[in-house]
């Protein structure tokens, strides 16, 4: 369809580090931006990370800067709990239908917390990958932006719901809120839909059903001060500090039965996890099971730093399976390819370095009608603009690089 009205506005789909970056970079060059995020707050996966490799600094630091940039900018319009339902038109003139799901809290919420105190029931806490619970009226996390509460639909029409409603002095609770859709006219669309951890339950041989087999993203939450254990690394089965931990690389990645590509970040994320453990648990040993250790460019020095620790050992082996062991200790079975030893090693805690799968992999993005590659990534080409992990398995720094580039591509598109 030939569009008549040109729009300089840019739509960014996804409010993770990539989407945020594309939005602020474009806005700071003088373009209006509509930022659409499906969860209640911005920040995406990085908000759920404890720290970044290699500096072990906190992702929330960079988020704070970016949130400030968004707050200062009058050009960025943010829609949370919103998804893109349809995209019509072409470069320079798109009509995009945005669908918002009910937050049950109006924009005038001051985050005073009265609703949270009134709530009695609890729901699984998505921010902590459901490892703990939150009240049915909750602030997603302390860095939440926008800083507004969310009320779970489950309390609608219950006495608890009424109590929550009554508790709000400024009438910001709306339990009858319904799904809504509206259209925006934009000149370019940037897909920054990010990733999800590859489902560990699909790795049947690795027995994710065992209590002390967890994933790398769960490890991030365990180590985070805002996590389910307040930052203490404890094994789920008995809340004890693990003494012997295994980190399994390529849990899903580089595997034609799962993710054919290398997720790039897992090796370094595991080095970071080794560092978390050794920081907290002086006498703990960490065994890293790997096929190839992949630490690109200067990150090699981070790998070397961890390798210097005699209590972090490296086993060149892709474990074949995990068996349940006594005392809820998972037993790692496989072959050490450098010694030819076939091992069956018990651990207090096993962390699966599951890979990144594009959010678009399972085709849950009806609005995107372009071509996905074989893995489900959106390859940026022609009118299609993608940023960050939506475009390929990238680390944070590379995602920001890609997102900054996407901002320029989008500006070009509006001029097309």
């Amino acid at each position: 369809m030939e569009s008549t009205t040109r729009s300089r506005t840019i739509l960014v789909v996804g409010g993770g580090i990539s989407g945020i970056t594309t939005a602020v970079e474009a806005a700071e060059a003088g373009h209006d931006v509509v930022l659409v995020e499906k969860s209640p707050t911005l920040g995406g996966r990085v908000a759920q990370l404890n720290r970044y490799f290699p500096k072990l600094c906190h992702p929330t630091c960079g988020l704070e800067i970016n949130f400030q940039r968004i707050k200062k900018s009058r050009r960025i319009k943010v829609f949370t709990m919103a998804t893109v339902a349809a995209v019509k038109g072409g470069a320079g003139g798109y009509t995009v239908t945005v669908k918002t799901s009910p937050r049950h809290v109006k924009p005038n919420c001051t985050a005073c917390g009265d609703c949270g105190r009134a709530a009695t029931s609890e729901i699984a806490n998505p921010f902590n990958y459901n490892m703990d619970k939150v009240k049915a009226a909750y602030l997603p996390h302390t860095m939440a932006f926008p800083m507004r509460y969310v009320i779970d639909g489950s309390v609608a029409g219950t006495p608890e719901g009424e109590a929550i409603k009554a508790a709000c002095k400024i009438g910001a609770v709306d339990l009858d809120e319904k799904e809504e859709t509206f259209d925006v006219e934009v000149g370019a669309v940037v897909w920054a839909t990010g990733w999800r951890p590859y489902p560990a339950e699909k790795l049947t041989a690795y027995r994710y059903d065992l209590p002390n087999v967890i994933t790398n993203v769960e490890m991030e939450r365990l180590a985070s001060p805002d996590g389910p254990t307040k930052g203490k690394i404890l094994r789920p089965s008995d809340g004890q500090a693990p003494k012997k931990i295994a980190l399994i690389q390529c849990a899903g990645s580089r595997d034609l039965n799962h993710l054919a590509y290398c997720s790039r970040i897992c090796c370094l994320a595991s080095m970071k996890h080794a560092a978390y453990v050794r920081e907290q648990l002086a006498d703990a040993v960490v065994d890293v099971y790997y096929i190839d250790l992949r630490a690109h460019d200067k990150l090699e020095s981070f790998l070397l730093r961890v390798k210097d620790d005699p209590q972090v050992r490296f086993v060149k082996s892709k474990p074949a399976r995990i068996d349940p062991g006594a005392g809820d200790n998972p037993i790692l079975c496989g072959e050490n390819t450098l010694t030819r030893e076939v091992y069956a090693e018990p651990y207090d805690l096993v962390v699966l370095a599951t890979g990144m799968q594009p959010s678009t992999a399972e085709g849950d993005m009806p609005a995107f009608d372009g071509d996905l590659d074989d893995y489900g990534f959106i390859f940026p080409e022609g009118e299609t603009i993608s940023a960050g992990v939506a475009a390929g398995p990238l680390d944070v720094s590379m995602s920001v690089q890609s997102a900054t580039a996407a901002a320029l591509k989008a500006i070009r598109a509006t001029m097309a």
């Binding site: 602020v24 970079e25 700071e28 060059a29 404890n50 500096k55 072990l56 600094c57 906190h58 992702p59 630091c61 960079g62 988020l63 970016n66 400030q68 940039r69 707050k71 200062k72 005038n108 001051t110 985050a111 005073c112 302390t142 800083m147 002095k169 400024i170 001060p225 590509y261 290398c262 997720s263 190839d292 992949r294 630490a295 690109h296 460019d297 200067k298 990150l299 090699e300 020095s301 390819t337 030819r340 590659d373 074989d374 390859f379 390929g392 398995p393 944070v396 720094s397 590379m398 920001v400 690089q401 890609s402 900054t404 580039a405 901002a407 320029l408 591509k409 500006i411 070009r412 001029m415």
Partner: protein
């Protein structure tokens, strides 16, 4: 500016009204500052904001909002161009201190006083806009990265000056055979399209190409750079994109891998050029290649050579092997590696190479004989194996960044240069606080740069663009990969990080994005990252300046130069508005319209200091607003309590804190002062590179001052805070209070 007309607005919502005595708060404004406050039960509501807006229509031009933290409701309390001052009674008072408590009330009143007291010192900033601004973007380097950068900048409407030191465009790509795969299905080498790229650039009217020249000097600032070329031409540009790329690690240093032992031991770069000319043959005797070994990490990942991984060598060797097999499937190709690094979708190329029959041998190369026998400690077969009958050995040498121009000698004379990182082993030396400034060489870390600087910046802080320890001109920040320490100058491509062709193309777009912002912001007098859009800038009262040069030395961004007479001269569009100069100035003659030593000191002095008989100490917490203040906010959000004896004074950066703030506080009767800022050192978190390091540096010198005041040095401390310290900081603060109580009250009280 029109007559100051300040409106004061108190919010009693979110429990503030229940926890505090609002009347008493109003009284502070009324009786102490003669300003009639207005209270509202929910100031951020349409009604509350409406009230403020109608007052603004009625002439109010400065708004004081005493409600929640300045980090929230920013969209509601937005009254530009009128100045806004916010006192945080929620996060930092009622959420972090007991309700209905005398000390909590005093705390709230003091925060209101600080806001009220600062009001007269805070003016709406008038941006620095002067003369002509260039929208033109200069791209340095005509390789893949530079060509893409030039095209991208032109595509979004900017004129481009493309400078290439050689007499041809295209860089290494011209001598390269195929490209690494980059588009789905990522499995096969792709055609080298460098010729089209060059043609595009030459056909683009907005791009001026200058070949065979280098930059001999660069003066000015974003929007106003004057770039002088080796042929004498002087060009005006608004921003600079450095895309000078890489060079192969010197193969001569790889004797241990057989380089030089035989003409048939070549580097991957040499081999690439041979492939471009068709199927290579032995250099020694021209015989066909039947058996070739590729030795990975030739220099890279070797502490004796390059400490880092060069990223592209693994994939490049696979590609080269595939090109050999393509022309003769019977060719034996061996890749000798320690870790096969084909990250992301490059894993497909690895599989392609395997199914094509490339053999992968994991292990270290022990020796390479002149007969090309490569002895490998084969880790998988678990024996030492001599690989015999090879026709050629290809060393996968790594990438060395062209962060300088090694084809030219370094600039004549001494060019002291600040290192890119704050190195603990070599602490930054700043001018002593008494007497003459020490000579230049003592004043700075020395980093010996090989070759000439790329731009020869005419900056007080040296001609080079600071680099990281590994020599790459990359950003120190994970979240902000394009942040260099020279405003308006951005790097991309392999000079920033070892990267392949496709990544460099994208990187060029990213850097151009930043350059476009730089020229547009410069023309508007607005700051760049991280205080994006800040219109204030440092103003220096030269009549009081003692030419001590501390401001020029300490500026992390080299924004301040020195005039012939030795006076500082600010290049406003280079400035990031951190205020480090302001904190450095011993005669405090550097200030911003809305931020000054005075505005800080008046706040410090505005606090009520009870006498010691009250048993209530007062402590000043000077907190960096980047990480420390948000962390305290979040402590409040989590309802973590801390001592109500502490008064938090947010600052732009600890670098902007003049020691005067500390001494004034102690003279004024505070019992202790804590500076709280970002991590310094190698992995620094300071948003302005070395502000917190500078603060520490200065604080190190306060000992004498305290002694002269007969005060214990323990009364002044600096702590590092991260944004994730919401649980830790209250403990730290309370610990400090205990420490001070142990020392006893400040004897200066009441003087």
């Amino acid at each position: 500016m029109s007559e100051r007309n300040t409106g004061v607005y108190l919010c009693s919502g979110c429990g503030i009204g229940e926890a505090l005595n609002m009347d008493a708060l109003e009284k502070v404004s009324k009786s102490e500052y003669k300003l009639e406050p207005k209270s509202h039960a929910c100031l951020c509501s349409d009604e509350g904001v409406g009230m403020i807006r109608s007052d603004i229509e009625g002439g109010v031009n400065q708004v004081i909002v005493a409600a929640c933290s300045a980090r929230v409701m920013t969209d509601r309390f937005a009254f530009e161009p009128n100045t806004l001052i916010r006192a945080d009674l929620r996060e930092k008072v009622i959420w972090s201190h007991p309700a209905g408590d005398e000390d909590t009330q005093m705390l709230a009143e003091d925060y209101l006083r600080m806001a009220l007291a600062s009001a007269p010192k805070i003016n709406p900033p008038t941006p620095w806009i002067e003369g002509e601004y260039s929208q033109r973007i200069c791209v340095l380097g005509g390789g893949v990265t530079g060509l893409n950068a030039a095209l991208e900048a032109a595509a979004v409407g900017h004129d481009v000056l493309l400078i290439e030191r050689s007499d041809r465009l295209g860089g290494w790509a011209v001598d390269a055979s195929k490209r690494l795969p980059h588009r789905p299905p990522y499995a096969q080498p792709e055609e080298n399209n460098i010729a089209d790229l060059v043609a595009k650039v030459q056909g683009e009217g907005k791009i001026t190409v200058r070949m065979g020249v280098t930059v001999t000097r660069t003066a000015g600032m974003p929007g106003k750079f004057a770039v002088t070329l080796s042929d004498g031409a002087v060009e005006d540009v608004g921003a600079i994109v450095i895309a000078t790329g890489w060079r192969p690690y010197e193969a001569e240093k790889l004797g241990h891998l057989g380089y030089g032992a035989s003409p048939d031991v070549v580097t991957n770069v040499q081999f690439e050029a041979m492939l471009k000319e068709g199927r290579p043959t032995r250099k020694s005797d021209g015989k066909a290649l039947k058996s070739v070994a590729f030795v990975q990490c030739a220099g890279s990942r070797d502490p004796a050579h390059l400490p880092y991984c060069s990223n592209t060598c693994c994939a490049t060797s696979l590609k080269q092997a595939l090109e050999l097999i393509e022309t003769d499937p019977t060719t034996n190709c061996f890749v000798i590696y320690e870790e096969m690094r084909t990250p992301g979708t490059a894993e497909e190329l690895y599989r392609t190479a395997q199914s094509a029959g490339v053999i992968f041998i994991k292990g270290k190369v022990k020796a390479v004989g002149s007969d090309l026998t490569v002895t490998v400690a084969d880790e998988l077969v678990q024996e030492e194996i001599p690989l015999q009958g090879l026709d050629m050995v290809v060393l996968a040498t790594g990438m060395v960044p062209n962060s300088t121009n090694t084809m030219l000698p370094s600039e004549a004379g001494e060019n002291p240069q600040l290192h890119g990182d704050v190195d603990p082993e070599a602490p930054i030396k700043v001018a002593g606080y008494a007497g003459e400034a020490p000579p230049a060489h003592e004043r700075r870390e020395q980093v010996v740069y090989e070759g000439a600087s790329l731009l020869n910046l005419q900056y007080r802080q040296g001609p080079h663009l600071p680099v990281l320890h590994d020599g790459f001109a990359d950003s120190h920040y994970i979240c902000f990969p394009y942040e260099t320490r020279r405003s308006g100058i951005y790097t991309c491509g392999p000079v920033r990080r070892p990267m392949d062709w496709a990544e460099a193309e994208e990187d060029a777009q990213g850097a151009v994005m930043k350059a476009v912002q730089a020229v547009r912001s410069a023309a508007a007098g607005a700051a760049l990252h991280p205080r994006v859009g800040d219109l204030s800038y440092p103003k220096i009262g030269l009549n009081q300046c003692t030419k001590c040069r501390r401001c020029t030395v300490e500026c992390p961004f080299g924004a301040i130069d020195e005039t012939e007479e030795g006076f500082p001269s600010v290049n406003s569009t280079r400035c990031r508005r951190c205020g480090t100069c302001m904190g450095a100035c011993p005669v405090r003659t550097i200030s911003f319209d809305n931020y000054s030593v005075e505005s800080l000191v008046t706040q410090i002095k505005s606090v009520n200091i009870p006498d010691e008989f009250s048993g209530k100490p007062r402590l000043l917490l000077i907190a960096c607003e980047n990480d420390a203040v948000p962390a305290l906010d979040m402590a409040g959000i989590k309802h973590n309590n801390w001592s109500a004896f502490v008064r938090v004074l947010p600052v732009r950066c600890l670098g902007s804190v003049s020691l005067l703030c500390v001494s004034e506080a102690l003279l004024g009767g505070y019992d202790g002062v804590m500076l709280m800022g970002c991590k310094a050192g190698d992995d620094y978190q300071c948003h302005f590179v070395k502000g917190s390091a500078m603060a520490a540096e200065r604080l190190g010198k306060i000992g004498e001052t305290l002694k002269s005041m007969m005060l214990e040095p323990e009364r002044v401390v600096q702590v590092e805070a991260s944004i994730a310290d919401a649980d830790r900081l209250p403990k730290v603060i309370d610990g400090f209070v205990e420490q001070i109580m142990a020392i006893g009250f400040n004897p200066m009280k009441g003087f």
